[in-house]
Amino acid sequence: MADEFTSKLDAYLDGELAAADMKALDAHVRACPACAADVLGRVQMKRAIKTASQRYEPRSEFRAKIERRLKPRAGFPKMFRAWAYAAAVACLLFVVAVAYNYYQRERLAGERLASEIVDLHVAALADPNPVQVPSSDRHTVKPWFQGKIPFTFDLPELQNTGFTLLGGRLTYLDQTAGAELIYQVRKHYISVFIFPQQSSGQTTDLAAKSKHAAFSLQSFTHQGLRYVLISDTGDSDLGRLSDLLKSAQRE
């Protein structure tokens, strides 16, 4: 065996020799049985080491643990919790703001509607002719509105109730035609406004009972119509007349 070549056998088998040395050693191994046997043994040993070296496998739990630990989002859950908390607070504030805004708008709309009703009531009473159809007969007043308003209604029988029907007039609220009936109880006048409930500008609900500019207002809806009663008399008179009107619609 040539020592000159033997010292290079490892590098030869590891593919680390320069091309010229590789070629020379190739030629020598083919010609030298001793070196050929040595090369064969070393090749077999290299292969055996490769096989034997693959000895240890990581446990799957360990792999999972490392993967969890090394996730780039390692700080994510904590950060996420902070963000989620902030987002929840922001959502809550948003909902509160929306609800408050809605409440304010409704309140302002209600006030505006009540203000309009007061104006209509006062304007009618200030008119030299408060009613366009002066009659205490409900069967005269009701037909008078035919063709003037896009709905109809029934009026109650007032005998022995203390109320007197003075008549009716056509009125408008937010460009919607409606009926205004004027009643008298003792020396007080009561306006009863009737409008379609869903007409433009009429979506805001008035409180069932409220006060506006010292006038008492009561409101109810029935069969798609909104009834608003207003007067400077007390709530009890308005309540009684409301009940009478409601009863009349059910007859």
Partner: protein
Amino acid sequence: MPLFSQLYNFAHWLTQDRSEAEDLVQETYVKALRGFSGFQQGTNFRAWMYRILRNTFLTSRSGSKASATRPLEEEDQEQLPATEETPESIFIASSQKEMLQNALAELPVPFREILLLCDFEEMSYQEISDTLGIPAGTVMSRLSRARRALRLTLSKKLKV
């Protein structure tokens, strides 16, 4: 995860202990992740990872113990007895894989690691040089001595 199984196998060979190998691999990945900005793109990622693992091992308790028990001087021309017989052929014939594994485990860490990097990981001498932080010439001489040491160990085992 890149190189996970290979790194674990290498770590277990170095430490000869599952728990220590797991600690070593975990620390290697943590260090790699922390120092990834320091990794130069275009250089050998595998060598970089193995270098981190090996350095971590050497600074660990078992690593310092292993290197202290068998300091390796490249200039130390330890005269390994010439093996006229052919242990490879005897060994291959007997196909005793376990014996080879035991022989590898008995080798000093510097011999064991360089054989694993060369024959199992099939790293080039340059990669091994980068991983172990030694000159390429030293890689060649250490490999030669590691192989002779392995053959000697096997010969002893076959004689028993």
